[in-house]
């Protein structure tokens, strides 16, 4: 790709070019790519049909669920299972047709999941094709997939967003390759983007490594190319460089594959929540892609596909950096585009870690040897924290991998101390927990940054309500 230098803006920490598609290229320097073993190859595997599906309310952050079905009810694809108590028009709908088999509740009757036993026929509700895109999205349950910033929660249909942001790539290790997913679904993707354009201006963030015409020449949206290490693929990073959020403003974000969901709905009038999920990680025998529905049980996906080992394995619903630890009995999370499997590591007795060379470990610190092996070496990392939790000691660790014009360390401190005015001043409205994933990875003080930020955002949202 030939790049023409037009502008250099050191203040924002990025430089801007124009490529031959006449789209803006933003080069990011901060960040970190961790080369993990077990990346999915561009191949499609077969996965059996499991006996159960589940929609989990916790996957939709910031929403209070109200169940609208009873156990034993018949549901079609697209029938609501639960709705948002505060905005009942935001529905969360069944990915399969069948019988509601369980409404699972936990402590204090908290709704954990609504499970559906499939009838194997996938009878879908007809939504018809209307001009009112928002009404259609709300009715079909796709609106629930929109997230809004500030707070990184389910979008509020009453908000007037200044833009909708879609990132067409995930830069995290072991993540789904969206270009592969897009193959054969270009029409649906474009239809989805065009539909979003009726809600607000659409910004599409594309990686400099992507070449698909459907992305670079997408219509009804402004395409921006990002060139840089993870987390360049995070939509929050892209928002920060394209059109940062000020206090009082709202933007919506939607996953790239979810844009295809919207496109399918508009083209066929039916809901189809089929994802192309990457099963990847060092514990997977042949990492590749599988077609799965949102909420599909993971048993059939992982069974027989993992390395036979006498150590413990960790199945992660989602990405290794941001996903949730789960089991083979778990379900594919609503927003998750991959399932990663890594060693748990809790049976690993490693001696004198503070001084040994530890050649197999990855570190950004030159007190280890990873710098010697270059970027080609693939690492097998387990889930150990590899140190004790401390106060923040080293300075600038977060900022090195945080490609936004935000002082990440100071923002984290403001969240820990509960200083809301300072959080606002330091830019908390622009961030989501996932933006801190790489910082959490490199943190020598081993603080749980994503959890801290999530809790901070929840408290702030309550205060501002």
């Amino acid at each position: 790709m030939s790049l023409k230098f037009i502008n250099f803006t050191p203040v924002l920490g990025h430089s801007i070019f124009i490529n031959h598609y006449m789209t803006k290229v933003i080069k990011l320097r901060k960040g970190l790519d961790v080369n993990l073993k077990g990346r999915a190859t561009r191949e499609l595997g077969q996965v059996g049909c499991p006996g159960e599906y589940a929609l989990v309310p916790d996957d939709f952050a910031g929403m209070k669920p109200k169940v609208v079905v009873k156990e034993g009810d018949q549901v079609l694809v697209g029938d609501a299972l639960f709705v948002d108590k505060l905005h009942p028009e935001v529905k969360f709908t069944s990915p399969v047709s069948g019988v509601v088999s369980l409404v699972e509740r936990g402590d204090r009757r908290k709704l954990l999941s609504v499970r559906v036993k499939p009838d194997g026929e996938q009878k879908a509700r007809e939504f018809g094709v209307t001009e009112d895109v928002k009404a259609l999205l709300l009715e079909s349950g796709l609106f629930g997939f929109f997230r809004s910033r500030p707070y990184d929660v389910v979008a509020n249909p009453e908000d007037k967003p200044k833009a909708v942001f879609v990132s067409a790539f995930n830069s995290m290790p072991l993540s789904q390759d969206f270009e592969y997913v897009l193959e054969g679904q270009e029409k649906e993707f474009q239809a989805g983007i065009s539909a979003l354009a009726k809600l607000a201006k659409v910004h599409l963030g594309v990686s400099s490594k992507q070449t698909a015409k459907a992305l670079l020449e997408a219509k009804d949206c402004e395409v921006t190319v990002f060139d840089g290490p993870a987390p360049a693929g995070n939509v929050g990073v892209q928002i920060n460089h394209i059109s940062p959020i000020n206090k009082g403003e709202v933007v919506w974000t939607l996953g790239a594959e979810e844009v295809i969901f919207v496109g399918r709905l508009l083209l066929t009038g039916k809901l189809d929540l089929t994802r192309t999920v990457a099963l990847a990680g060092s514990e997977v025998v042949a990492p590749k892609y599988y077609k799965m529905l949102v909420g599909q049980k993971l048993t059939t996906l992982v069974e027989g596909k993992l390395v036979k080992a006498d150590h413990h394995q960790r199945i992660i619903d989602g990405n290794v950096m941001t996903g949730l630890k789960t089991t083979a009995e778990g379900f594919l999370g609503a927003h998750h585009t991959e399932v990663n499997v890594i060693p748990e590591g809790d049976d690993n007795a490693e001696m004198l870690g503070w001084i040994m060379p530890r050649l197999n470990e990855f570190s950004t610190s030159r007190s280890y040897c990873s710098w010697l092996f270059g970027r080609k070496k693939e690492y097998t990392l387990d889930a150990r924290i590899k140190g004790g939790e401390r106060h923040i000691i080293m300075s600038g660790e977060y900022d090195r991998v945080f490609p936004m014009d935000i002082f990440a360390g100071y923002l984290v401190k403001a969240i820990i101390t509960g200083d809301i005015d300072r959080q606002e001043a330091l830019g908390i409205y622009e961030v989501a927990p996932e933006d801190f994933a790489i910082a959490e990875f490199v943190d020598s003080s081993k603080l749980e940054l994503q959890r801290i930020v999530r809790e901070g955002l929840d408290i702030l949202r309550k205060e501002n309500a």
Partner: protein, 391 residues
């Protein structure tokens, strides 16, 4: 290895809540995490994999970086002793080194026992893990005091600084002042005669366990910096500069050899444990001020002589770069380092009362580091506020 792991697993329940040795759980945790990498895995909702770096590794590398200066310091203690006794010809390399080793070791032990003891108690009380910060402070403290400092003074000073400069702020990572420098400042102001006195404090003059020599009469040896200050930085004997670079001059145990300190600096910068921004700006600031003082004819010595005399290099490499007490923003580090260099040389040249300005300069800038950061962060805040108003 596995036997040790199994043994630790077997005795671990005794140290947990309700176990009969629960009162020592922080000691057990400390030793277990020292022997093995902790096996705790990340919880649901946080990142699943982690970088192998942790604060133990970082602190260990600082301690390793201090080793050349420490070993040279031991040798120099023996060398100065032989020089004082006029027996330099009879002294052997290993004789001098072991003499110095015996002279310094009790200080290291006292420093660690007192400091770590307090840390263990506090960790136990706060139900936290032992923090590694004192691993570095504990070795720094013996290296920045005169070799003749009585052990009881050292013990009081260490206790004072660990409790009042560190633990009351919340432990490693929360302190405002560098604990090692607070120890030295405490000694300096409480027992001035033992810290500078009549220039007999810098050289150990008694033989220890048959090693070394007893000086025939009280031997006075001012540090070259002290001499320079006393003589108003005029007529300074530049012949000692070569010795000041190799380190064969009287002075605090670890601070004398610029070469040994440079070895440590290379390790710290290469591993990224210390910030090159802070370290370099200290030298730039000191050089500028030294040059200015020379240009104004307030001092006769060359601008770069300040780097090799007294504790300037040691302070710049090991004290100013302490990540906790230095400026935390990248721009702030330049300002912070620069001002340390400037103030240190200013105190040296302009204040006849204190021949050495490094300690005071770093402590003063420790105090100002949050203000420097405040200004840097405030620029980001006002940029964001302006953006919101301009929309």
């Amino acid at each position: 290895m596995n036997a040790l792991r199994n043994y630790l697993d077997k005795i671990k329940p005794n140290f947990e809540e309700g176990g009969k040795l629960h009162a020592f759980h922080s000691l057990f945790d400390g030793l277990e995490t020292f022997a093995f990498v902790p096996r705790t895995t990340s919880r649901v909702g946080s990142v699943n994999i982690h970088d192998a770096i942790d604060s133990k590794r970082i602190m260990s590398f600082v301690v390793i970086a201090l080793m050349p200066a420490l070993f040279f310091g031991m040798y120099n203690v023996g060398y100065q002793n032989a020089l004082a006794a006029g027996q330099l010809e009879q002294a052997t390399f290993w004789g001098m080194f072991f003499y110095g080793f015996l002279a310094v070791l009790p200080k290291i032990i006292v420093s660690y026992v007192v400091g770590l003891g307090i840390e263990f108690v506090v960790a136990q009380w706060k139900k936290e893990e032992i923090q590694e910060g004192f691993l570095v402070s504990g070795i720094l403290i013996p290296m920045i005091v005169p070799v003749t400092t009585p052990l009881w003074m050292l013990a009081i000073a260490v206790a004072f600084s660990v409790i009042l400069a560190k633990e009351i702020f919340g432990g490693t990572g929360m302190n405002i002042f560098n604990p090692a420098l607070i120890t030295r400042a405490f000694l300096f102001f409480s027992y001035p005669s033992a810290m500078t006195g009549d220039s007999t404090v810098w050289v150990s003059q008694q033989s220890i366990l048959g090693l070394g020599f007893t000086a025939p009469e009280a031997y006075t040896a001012a540090t070259p910096l002290g001499q320079a200050a006393a003589e108003g930085f005029n007529g300074f004997d530049c012949g000692t500069i070569e010795n000041a670079i190799t380190g064969l001059i009287p002075g605090a145990i670890g601070e004398t050899s610029v070469i040994a300190i440079a070895l440590g600096a290379i390790l710290l910068l290469w591993t990224g444990v210390a910030s090159w921004k802070t370290m370099c700006s200290v030298f730039v600031g000191g050089g500028l001020m030294g040059w200015l003082m020379q240009a104004l004819e307030l001092s006769d010595i060359e601008w770069w002589h300040h780097f090799v005399l007294g504790g300037f290099a040691f302070g710049a490499v090991f004290m100013a770069t302490d990540p906790v007490t230095s400026a935390r923003t990248e721009c702030g580090k330049y300002v912070y380092g620069l001002l340390i260099g400037v103030v240190a040389v200013m105190v040296r040249v302009l204040n006849p009362g204190y021949p050495e300005g490094m300690m005071l300069a770093i402590l003063l800038m420790n105090l100002f580091a949050p203000l420097i950061d405040y200004c840097v962060v405030d620029r980001n805040i006002s940029m964001r506020a302006k953006r919101a108003n301009n929309k």
